[in-house]
């Protein structure tokens, strides 16, 4: 979707905070939210649906509220959407009778158990597809010039652009459908774009931008010609 989250190439966001301190969590609540994100799972929520729920935060909140705050709001929205939380519970901050309650106690993990769990969380997203890859390394490809109104990983700044296939990664879960609850796999490629293809002011620069894009975002011919 063409939302505020799609930031690549947008102008006017000011200076980068290059003097940020090296502390891992700047506030205790950031650590709490990180920990919650590691051990709480919304039933049926894929990473792609979760990202889409985050993209749908009001633009003013998305841009202005702290980063881990947006994770907390995304979790709350995902639990509300799944019917695990009720809005009156979120507002009062208390679980209330008549709403969802787990039947078994949650696991208690110490640091060693968590470190072992982190190793198990090396989730893979690749899988088998029947079709042969449509493109080969070195092929010129053109990206789709239009998006759609749900989740996608084709940013606006590379739409309708010419690139070259740099690498084929096999088939990975296609996020546009995964965010709608449908698991399918599609060939995934690293596509390299000349900076001057993307940005008028980059003419003469030798820089390149690489993106990992799914096959259905790509075409072998330019739709504009």
């Amino acid at each position: 979707m063409d939302g505020v989250h799609d930031l690549g190439g947008k102008l006017g966001y000011g200076a980068i905070d290059v003097d940020e301190s090296d502390v891992v969590f700047h506030h205790a609540w950031e650590g709490r939210e990180w920990g919650i994100s590691r051990c709480a799972r919304v039933p049926g929520c894929t990473i792609d649906w979760w990202r889409h729920v985050r993209e749908l935060i009001k633009p003013e909140d998305y841009l202005n509220r702290p980063y881990f705050d947006s994770w907390a709001q995304t979790d709350l929205a995902a639990y509300l959407n799944a019917g695990i939380f009720a809005m009156d519970e979120v507002i009062s901050g208390k679980a209330e009778a008549g709403h969802y309650m787990a039947e078994e106690a949650p696991p208690v993990m110490d640091k060693d158990a968590v470190l072992a769990q982190d190793r198990k969380n090396a989730f893979r997203f690749d899988g088998k597809v029947e079709s042969e890859p449509q493109f080969s390394i070195g092929d010129t490809v053109f990206t789709s010039s239009i998006g759609h109104d749900h989740h996608t990983r084709l940013p606006q700044y590379v739409r309708g652009k010419r690139g070259v296939v740099q690498c084929h990664h096999g088939a990975h879960i296609f996020p546009d459908l995964s965010a709608q609850g449908i698991e399918t796999h599609q060939h995934l490629y690293s596509i390299v774009f000349e900076a001057a293809e993307l940005w008028p002011e980059a003419k003469g620069r030798c820089d390149r931008v690489y993106l990992d894009l799914w096959e259905s975002y790509l075409s072998g011919s330019d739709a504009n010609e």
Binding site: G9, I16, A28, G31, A72, A105, V108, H150, Y157
Partner: protein
Amino acid sequence: MSEHDSSKVVKIHEHLHSHLPSESALRVKALETLLVEKGLVDSRTIDAWVEAYTDEIGPKRGAHVVAKAWTDPDYKRRLMEDAPSAIDELGYLGTATAHLKVVENTDKIHNLVVCTLCSCYPFSLLGIAPAWYKAAAYRSRAVRDPRGVLKEFGIEIDDEVEIRVWDSTAELRYLVIPQRPDDTDDMDEASLAKLVTRNSMIGTDRDLKPDTQGLR
């Protein structure tokens, strides 16, 4: 498909915008309290995750991988060919690194990593991303004005050096191998690892110094 209905989620966010307290600490507290009261999460497990990512999992892991690649050509070959297996040798495979790809800086190439659409980062290798990596200023500009971004970090890149920006749009995650500093031939892997800064593994740092401390 009602459970994947964007317009329903927009309405939920409207409610949250109107009814949640403005302090982030209170919002996260409300979330944790509900999860605990509903029996979905135990607070001690949250404590353990905070501890693990504060004390154990962080950029020192990435620095170890870089120093090993500098000193052990066989390891570097394995790392370039199959990064997830190579970091697994050191026990660092984990959250968000199953599809890791390593890119190497040279005299003629500088690599810079960004996620313009969200904030993808190789957690089990570099830990929690700095806030600037997840903020709009960096995410918007890294793909368009990488030389300007690097200048803000105090790094000047010669015109003839090619900058390769990697926008993490899929589940691949990227680790930059910075160049080994000159005059470090007599240093061992552990000493070399101390020269590697977190930013050099993202690409917002370039020339590492043989006489400064990178990571704790």
